[in-house]
Amino acid sequence: MKQDKRMFGKILMGLLIVFFYAPIIYMIVFSFNEGKSLTHFSGFSLKWYQHMLESRDMMESLYTTFSIAILSTLISTVVGTITAIGLSKSKKVVRDVVEQVNNLPIMNPEIVTAIGFMLFFITFRVEKGYITMLLAHIAFCIPYVILSVMPKVRSLDPNLADAAMDLGATPMQALIKVIVPQITPGIVSGALIAFTMSVDDFIISYFVTGQGVKNLSIMVYTMSKRVNPSINAVSTLVVAIITVALLAINLIPAFVAKQQEKGRGNGSKPLLFAVAGVLVVISTIGFALHGGLKGSEKPYQGQTLRIYSPGEYMGENIIPAFEEMTGARVVLELFDSNEQMYIKVANGESYDILIPSDYMIERLIQEELLQKLDQSQIINMDFINEEVKNLSYDPGNEYSVPYFWGSVGIIYDTTKVTREELEKDGYNIFLNPKYKGDIYLYDSERDSFMMALKALGYSMNTEKEEELQKAYEWFETCVTTMEPEIVTDEIIDNMAQGRKALGIVYSGDAAYIMSENEDMGYFEPLEGTNNWCDAMVIPANAENVELAQEFMNYLCSYEAAYDNSDFVGYTSPNEEVMDDLYGEGGTYEGINAYIPRSGYEMDESFVFNERTRKIISNLWSKVKIVASNVN
């Protein structure tokens, strides 16, 4: 009987261990994969590690994660322990109230705590960044420390401290020599919980960060939409750091157990060593990141350029080359949508350059959130295609310099869908039962509604509520009958691998997909589409305006524009670059998606209107909710 029980336990335990470690082993193995695939190992290579080391984003996220974890663990352990001791001697009422309040971050869903912090920092105009992240981490770690120390303190003999003091110890001595050693196991486990919580945290960090400060979680969250094996490399590095730290600590639980037996306090040295070791590693990375760039005097040495851009939207050499040229440091922060960007900017977060879309620029200008450019500094503007200059959102380009432009259309698998079908159905092909379960929708409220409105024959700038309602119903039909997947940038790799027959995409992503997979085609429906243009602008509260203009000027140059467009696949506003990339021998030779349709009468550009934006935003949320409720 007993044997059986142990057997069951052993099997369960073994399976759990496999379960716990399978993803970690997978990650380590695939970090050495030569190819980009997430499922097939094609050979050994260290190239993802090289990518990782070259990516300052990744190294910085490592630094942020561990430096915040260590600082918040140290601070919260000390404060938490002191507080727990204090509380044990306080009146019961005080203790109960504090314990109740302390439970808030533990008992509240994390997202609620996160939002609370965010509102708090915004209300009191604390600029979000490293410090706010640290404060938030300390705030949610302390309760765990108290929770873990409190039972130990309360199980102490209340007369212990008195006895020590009767024997001549000062209160301080009594505290350090008598009380603390007795509760060391509680303190150590509290510190461990705090550290784990901090390293693991995503939700709170995500809401309280700013200025491009990101920890590992945020980095993974913003980069995971595209296949990126460097993430596996970073993860492996994390595993290595943790393992080394643990070896240094020399098996904490064993140590704790011994500590319990001995009941003496001088054994905390290995732990200190471990912490010190990790600190050294982290500060080395930190030093390399912040001090490593010093060198010969360059015009913008020491300045920082903060760019807020859509994800996966910049050539990989642009920033290193610009930093090399100017000596400035560039911090790139990514957004998922124009709306997300607007919320941050409107709440006073400061950037030097934003890269929003046309209608959003119009809104930012209307709300006086942008500043006028010094056009004499942006001489390369001359190379820009006349077609994307002087557009209605910013006549005379007083505020903006075009970045990329294009259209929205249908990416389709030519082996499954014919062009005749597309010409016949247009956007309504997304309601064709033949393709049920075989379509992607794009998670953008604006462009999704564009598609539905055009499919119904309305203007995409309609202000009529009944037309918007009709568009919503179009989507309702689509999500309840067609089982679409609603994605953002995941569509790029998935369509490149031919996972589904149809998807709605931006022309630039289509160009990239088609360059990767010959079977894919791009179609701009005859009902019309959105002719869009994304451009660089400088917010009114920017700090380094001159540097920002230097960057804009640089991006208009042939060299940078070529690199940018070649890497990302979006149509360059630099006319010569566009011709070269599309022409013979170019990366996007003959790919129609690279040259968006222009001058077609059914096509439109977005005009900003706050009232319709709100309606569309609400309706699109509902579309997603209805879609998820169907499952």
Binding site: R6, K10, L12, L16, I17, P23, I24, Y26, M27, F30, L38, T39, V79, T83, I85, G86, L87, K89, S90, V94, V98, V101, I106, N108, P109, E110, I111, I115, F117, F120, T123, A139, L175, L192, T196, V199, F202, I203, V220, I231, S235, V238, I242, L246, P253, A254, D336, E339, D443, E485, T488, N618, S621, K624, I625, V626, A627, S628, N629, N631
Partner: protein, 279 residues
């Protein structure tokens, strides 16, 4: 002992500032129309009304609670025997196993969840194994099963560790006493071991259920863009829609329902302990 009690004062100040005030702000946002501008302060309950009069929102809340409940039950069913097994092992094995469970939690949650994408995707290892077992080509990624797996994976260590520490705290002589008094193994478990481990179980449930309800990156990474839980709804209100007041109202509703549930669970705990406070 006045001196020692003063040690808690700095933290009490910090607590009011960093823990109480933020929640008060959410509450305030949830009943006003124009964010935090005090000038145009106007009380309203429309955000709550909007949530409760729309079956779609309620469905999302219901589904989030459901999946969190499933996660918790699975974690408890797997976690309790595991914790029990660990607690009954020799000290050396115990320490090793605890380490084995703790280490993964030190590696970032998103990173580990991200790894599951590769394992579960089409043509991935898990699918291949299932195929070998004769289960055919099963679609794994972007299903509710994947979300559930991601949640169990991320949260089960908390359950095991909490229950284990409660079991370890138990005085071994209690078991001996029970045996001496003629109790069978099953009886001892039912009357002594389980009730004494209950605080650990409750803590474990709390640490699994709460994050499971509000998680929004697990559904996003493993469930795909159209898998919407209450956490995603709140994120969406704050990050893209900019409807902070409505988002705050949803947060309040979620927090309130959590509190209610936890109070119920605590009640059970107290009753099982015969109304006595834990020592």
């Amino acid at each position: 002992m006045k001196k020692f009690s003063q040690l808690a004062i700095p933290y009490i100040v910090w607590m009011v500032l960093m823990l109480v005030l933020p929640v008060a702000l959410i509450a305030m946002y949830s009943v006003t129309t124009h964010g935090n501008s005090i000038i145009s302060f106007s009380f309203t309950l429309e955000h709550y009304k909007k949530f409760f009069t729309d079956s779609d929102f309620l469905l999302v809340l219901g589904r989030s609670l459901m999946i969190a409940l499933k996660t918790t039950i699975i974690c408890l069913l797997l976690g309790y025997p595991a914790a029990y097994f660990i607690a009954r092992s020799s000290e050396k094995v115990q320490n090793l196993l605890i380490m084995a469970i703790t280490i993964p939690t030190w590696i970032n949650m998103l990173v580990r969840t991200y790894a599951w994408i590769g394992l579960l995707s089409d043509g991935g290892i898990v699918q291949q194994i299932l195929k070998l077992l004769g289960l055919g080509e099963v679609e794994l990624l972007y299903t509710e099963g994947a979300v559930l797996l991601g949640m169990v994976y991320n949260f089960i260590p908390f359950m095991i560790l909490q229950i284990n520490s409660a079991l370890c705290k138990m005085d071994a002589s209690l078991l001996e006493a029970a045996a001496d008094l003629g109790a069978s193994k099953a009886e001892t478990f039912k009357k002594v071991t389980f009730p004494l481990s209950l605080p650990g179980v409750i803590n474990g449930i709390t640490l699994v259920f709460l994050p499971a309800v509000s998680s929004f990156f697990i559904p996003k990474l493993l469930g795909g863009g159209q898998y919407f839980l209450i956490g995603n709804l709140i994120e969406n209100q704050f990050i893209t829609a900019g409807e902070w007041n409505f988002g705050s109202a949803i947060s309040m509703i979620m927090a309130a329902s959590m509190m209610l549930m936890m109070m119920l669970v605590k009640k059970i705990e107290v009753r099982n302990n015969g109304g006595k406070e834990e020592v």
